[in-house]
Symmetry: C2
Subunit: 771 residues, 2 copies
């Protein structure tokens, strides 16, 4: 058991390491050659240009102005300065609402912490149960336990304080949650209302267009909507299956990178040709001239791309039974997205089109039955992943012993038998399997969500976040409280009575307080402080800068600003909500640590959002119902555990009085769901009508069809206009041509042959970048 | 333990009693004076007129044609003759689909019974476990148990048969369920499509219209929809709070009945005035002349009605914040019903208007927050009702002993001390409290649903049916399997581990087979046969006929044809589905009894629907998703119980192999929900558009506004036109006047004074029936 001193030392270490991170960060960010890593958002917005141009040579890379180092914590007030409306403008609503999750934590836990310290701590402290236990039964206990509910004797009337406090905490949390839900629902609606014209406001995604023998998908869609939405239909865009093409383009980009790398190398050291081996990882195989090899490879793949592109455009089989249908007014789009089209509810499925950036293209063609099956499979798979992931890992761990390696690969015997290596392997290898798994877990969950068939990146991330939260709940929270792997817990829970489970966990809760305090400091304090260093993007940027970058554009691409990463970030915050709510009535000692986490994370992420992160899509805070629901879940869990704990303490009437709490909380949740959730799912007709009316008044001659014609083109085709250097002119011409829809249409069907033949010419090494 | 002989005797008795019922029925229905009871549907449709007119006096009341008695089971093939489309026309889709529930039972259980008898019975029979147990441990067992899974020894490989059969049963049930869901979804859509023009196709119920200081509700609604559905809005009808008026009208009708009764009595025996006492139940109080008294009372209440009516129409406070909004096309109504109107999802709530007959008027004005609270309260109340209803009843029972009565009412001592009365009280009274409660349970559940705030009678019935099902599941099925009151079960389940519960119940299942077989015969066979007698309506009809009926119209009102009674009937059928599915793999012996029930009930209810029942509303089979869901629930319960049973039998791999079944079944349920349920909730735009187009082509000059103007008037106001004898002319005039909307509007605001004064005149005794 840790004493207060131990906690103090641990806190000191973690605060110190956080400070060290901040100092390193302060030094690094002031160096001009890191500027693009720590201010990438501004570069991407075009509001900041490279400081590396002009000035003394040394000053281009190192900041020699020592005064700037003195104010090394300056970024903190700086980060708080930008007002919210400006921040929404700067980084989008998603990021701002994401920040409000931390803010919500502060709002919930600051008053709870004050109340708990003012009432519960004195009530707990002025007992001597633990002291007596020490004398009588030689049970040791820490000072922290003295502040917790453990210090109150059984049958005590003092438990009434805890019950009243549990009510107070619940009411306060619900009140804050409701206010916050209301605020965010309003923010979302205001954001949607005040936004500039966006293609997704007019567009509906139609899936599962039934096959028709006589008509192509495009004709079918047009006829269907002309008949069923006669006054409102404007235009549509069928979806092509360009997954293979996208893969080829990606592959080509990789080859191009290698070519650039070797060309740069050759340019610096002109004396000799560079030779590479073709085998695995370049370790063996035929030796060839690197530059020539890659030029040939790129040439080959360019031809393939050309062929594939032609196929995608011309082959009716590559047209997927899905389309983006645009309407003349927002009102009509809102109507179409919210209604059922035909008597078969698995055909002509309509939903709001996600933002063009947000579309997950590969999933648009999945038929309805397949979706149900996929969902079921993924539910089952996730169940096994959560409860039994430890089994294959234990198996790998058993292999990863000295004997296992010697058996599997006898030729490694010499290395393995070495004393130093032996100790490394024994100390390191068994753990690495678990660490690797946990590092890859978010990606695994993301793949699972993709398999499930969601059509937008934001919904993929939301589903992954939900699963990550469940995984954390079972494998971090529960596994820490009742020591044991998840499947052991599952087994013991199946064999325990339902009202025994909260007791088992509840009793263990106060004993784990010191563990979780340490966890909060390591993961929450030092971890968040470490986030600001951006170590991985920093290293990657400098590596790319050294080996690949030739032009300013390359340098821009070398930046990896990242994003808030909702799928991993939000479940992590939720763990702190859970800990705070569970421990508030039990061990109030923990609350200040939670508060520090929320405050620190708020500042750090606000800074990151302002200066670094580049959100890839905008879902207008569509994730808030999930956040709200999970805090409610944490609240209910905390109430059940408190009931269990007090039950074992023989707190006479505790259980009957507490049982109303989860019932009321769930009732509150239903109320909030009905009251606010529709704002995140549906688009009210009144709002749509208002915007439509305003727009018609302002821009009576708007060519909406031209505006929407190309909004939802697969990014592989869009790439044409964005990435081309040589074809810029053609691209511009096309951009203008958008206004005449027939022209564009014809181009999509018969791609200009001159471009393809141009690409296949080996005499133009840079033409490979055309695609 | 019952032997096969016992079952045989019991079956004989029940079959005999069913036959007796049928013979009594055959005799009764052939008597002309019962004609209105047993053919009420035809009378209500105007297709059959009283046989009591003309002919010999005796023949008017008694059928003397003996040949007709010979063919006393003739009604059975008769009932099966009418083809389904004609039946839909005759009785509505609700009734036909309700019949299909029984048909579904036959389709599911006939093949299952054949398979189970062909495979499971031989497998079970050819063991001697029970025989050996008899010898070794002196355990007695019946022949039925020999056919059940109990006869298979532990660790036997024969359990594989049961596992395979469980899969076969599940797959077959799911297949039939899916086909049926599809058929009924199509029937519903076809019904809706082929229907004549109905007001609810064009109308949307708008609730929670926000209060506005400047405009009345009516103006507000008009402006809102003119702005937000500019091309489609047609007209609207605000909802008045006429609950008090409706009560008064009801009260007046009761008084009128008494007046009629006394007038008839006086007319028959002209010699003396009839005198009544005014006190409780006419037992004491002031004596007055009956006819004069009732005429005066009716006069008083008529005045009150007039005042209240004026108030309702003129007082803006009696206008509720709800309205029925009608649109120009079905398409527009479908759009409005399926979309959200404003950013506040608790205001301007739109939903499909129920059929005018189906509207439950009193609940239209409940605000949103109140709805959430009411729902929560009712959930909690229902929980207590289900698990703890036995406690107050036990309390009442403890009072209803001899001593209790003597204490409460000493003056009854003389009667109670009588020996015969004593035995009656002791044998009868304790049970009567429970019986009374069970008899009133459907009404209690209906009141709960009304309190919850549903706006249509069909949804009230659906909710009551759900609750009745849960109540039956806990208090009939579970309480019979594991003997003990519900709250004792609840307690033991809370203290048992989750995987112990299916075992506890599963083990008890085979032992209760004989009990349930008897139950099926008593409740299912004889009970259903008794239903056809229509005892209560028969007695009531003859009582009314003797004391109240003066005109042909009165006689029509004296008929009480009843309806299918979804709220009690459907949960009862579901109990048979549950029994059949649970016992199919365990004791196949039970299946033939279930089959007989379904076949018998199908014929009986088909006859009743054709000849007697008068469905009060038409929801176009909106209840089918509930029926489907409950059969799925029964399937999952049966699978879990089988798992529990086989678990105790040490059937090695049974559990892991069976666990996939509930998972797959739930997956299947989700698939069906997504695939078919929308057909029962939403109205596809394509269908609406098709009907609109057809209608415009057929009747280009249709005055839709006139048609819809008065569709949704509170029945109290509607009564004016329907019931009046004297005012028929005025009523007709108004019916024509509907076409000119302004006229009608003015009438509603300023009711013709002449009618009210006419009602208050005591010189016209029949004018009381005007309202």
């Amino acid at each position: 058991m840790a004493t207060l001193q131990d906690i103090g030392v641990s806190a000191g270490i973690n605060i110190l390491s956080a400070f060290v991170f901040f100092i390193i960060f302060a030094v690094l960010r002031l160096q001009p050659f890191n500027d693009r890593v720590y201010f990438s958002k501004w570069y991407l917005k075009g509001l900041r240009s490279s400081p590396a141009r002009g000035g003394a040579f040394a000053q281009r890379f190192v900041n020699l102005d020592f005064r700037s180092y003195m104010k090394f914590l300056n970024w903190m007030p700086e980060a708080l300065k930008m007002p919210e409306p400006e921040l929404i403008d700067h980084a989008g609503l998603d990021s701002v609402v994401y920040l409000r999750i931390y803010w919500l934590g502060l709002k919930i836990f600051a008053p709870i912490a004050v109340l708990a310290w003012a009432v519960l701590v004195p009530v707990n402290w002025t007992n001597n149960t633990l002291e007596m236990a020490k004398h009588l039964r030689n049970v040791t206990s820490s000072d922290i336990d003295k502040l917790s509910v453990s210090n109150i004797p059984e049958y005590s009337v003092r438990f009434w304080t805890h019950i009243v406090m549990a009510y107070a905490f619940t009411i306060w949390t619900c009140y804050v949650l409701m206010k916050e839900y209301e605020t965010i629902a309003n923010m979302r609606l205001q954001f949607v209302a005040s936004e500039a014209r966006r293609p997704d406001q007019f567009t509906v995604l139609v899936r599962n267009v039934p096959p028709d023998a006589d008509e192509s998908v495009s004709e079918l869609v047009e006829h269907f909507f002309l008949v069923n939405h006669p006054d409102n239909y404007l235009t549509h865009q069928v979806v092509c299956n360009a997954n293979k093409l996208a893969d080829l383009v990606k592959e080509k980009k990789k080859l191009q990178n290698w070519l650039d790398y070797y060309q740069l190398k050759y340019a610096r050291n002109n004396t000799q040709r560079i030779v590479v081996k073709l085998g695995f990882l370049g370790l063996w195989g035929k030796k060839v001239d690197a530059i020539e090899h890659y030029i040939a490879e790129i040439d080959k793949i360019s031809k393939e791309i050309g062929k594939e592109r032609e196929e995608v455009v011309n082959d009716p089989k590559s047209i997927m039974p899905a389309a983006f249908v645009s309407f003349k007014t927002r009102w009509a789009a809102a109507v179409c997205a919210q209604t059922q089209q035909t008597r078969n509810p698995t055909q002509w499925l309509t939903e709001w089109a996600p933002e063009p950036r947000d579309v997950y293209w590969s999933n648009l063609a999945i038929p309805y039955v397949s979706l149900t099956v996929r969902r079921l499979i993924m539910h089952v798979a996730f169940f096994f992943l959560t409860f039994f992931f430890i089994i294959p890992i234990a198996f790998v761990q058993s292999l990863a012993t000295i004997e296992g390696i010697e058996k599997a690969a006898p030729f490694l015997k010499v290395i393995v038998e070495d004393k130093f290596m032996k100790s490394v392997i024994q100390g390191f290898l068994p753990g690495i399997a678990l660490k690797l798994f946990l590092a890859f877990l978010p990606s695994i969950l993301m793949i699972m969500s993709k398999f499930e068939g969601f059509t937008s990146i934001s919904s993929l991330e939301r589903r992954s976040a939900f699963r990550y939260y469940i995984f954390n709940l079972v494998n971090v929270f529960l596994a820490s409280v009742i020591t044991g792997a998840a499947f052991e817990q599952l087994n013991s829970f199946l064999n325990q009575s339902p009202n025994q489970i909260p007791k088992t966990i509840g009793v263990a809760i106060p004993m784990k307080a010191t563990f979780f305090i340490t966890y909060i400091m390591v993961d929450g304090w030092a971890g968040v402080a470490g986030e600001i260093l951006m170590l991985k993007p920093l290293i990657m940027f400098h590596l790319k800068n050294a080996f690949l970058v030739k032009t300013e554009k390359d340098r821009e691409e070398a930046m990896d600003p990242g994003s808030i990463g909702f799928n991993t970030g939000e479940p992590r915050i939720q763990l702190y909500f859970l800990l705070g709510l569970v421990y508030a009535p039990v061990t109030p000692m923990l609350l200040p640590f939670i508060l520090v986490f929320f405050a620190l994370a708020y500042i750090v992420y606000r800074h990151q959002i302002i200066n670094v992160y580049n959100q890839e899509y905008e879902s207008a805070a569509a994730f808030w119902p999930d956040v709200h629901g999970r805090v409610i879940a944490a609240l209910v869990i905390s109430q059940l555990l408190l009931m269990g704990l007090l039950g074992t303490k023989h707190a006479a009437l505790a259980a009957p009085f507490l049982i109303a709490l989860p019932v009321l909380t769930i009732g509150f949740h239903h109320f909030c769901k009905g009251r606010y959730e529709p704002a995140f799912i549906r688009y009210p007709l009144q709002e749509a009508m208002m915007k439509d009316t305003l727009e018609t008044a302002r821009e009576p001659n708007l060519n909406l069809k031209g505006y929407l014609q190309n909004a939802y083109i697969h990014p592989v085709f869009k790439g044409d206009e964005d990435d081309d250097d040589i074809d810029d002119k053609l691209g511009k011409f096309e951009d203008e041509a958008i206004i005449v829809p027939t022209k564009r249409q014809s181009r999509r069907n018969t791609p200009a042959p001159s471009r393809i033949s141009g690409e296949s010419s080996p005499s133009l090494p840079f033409s490979g970048k055309l695609v």
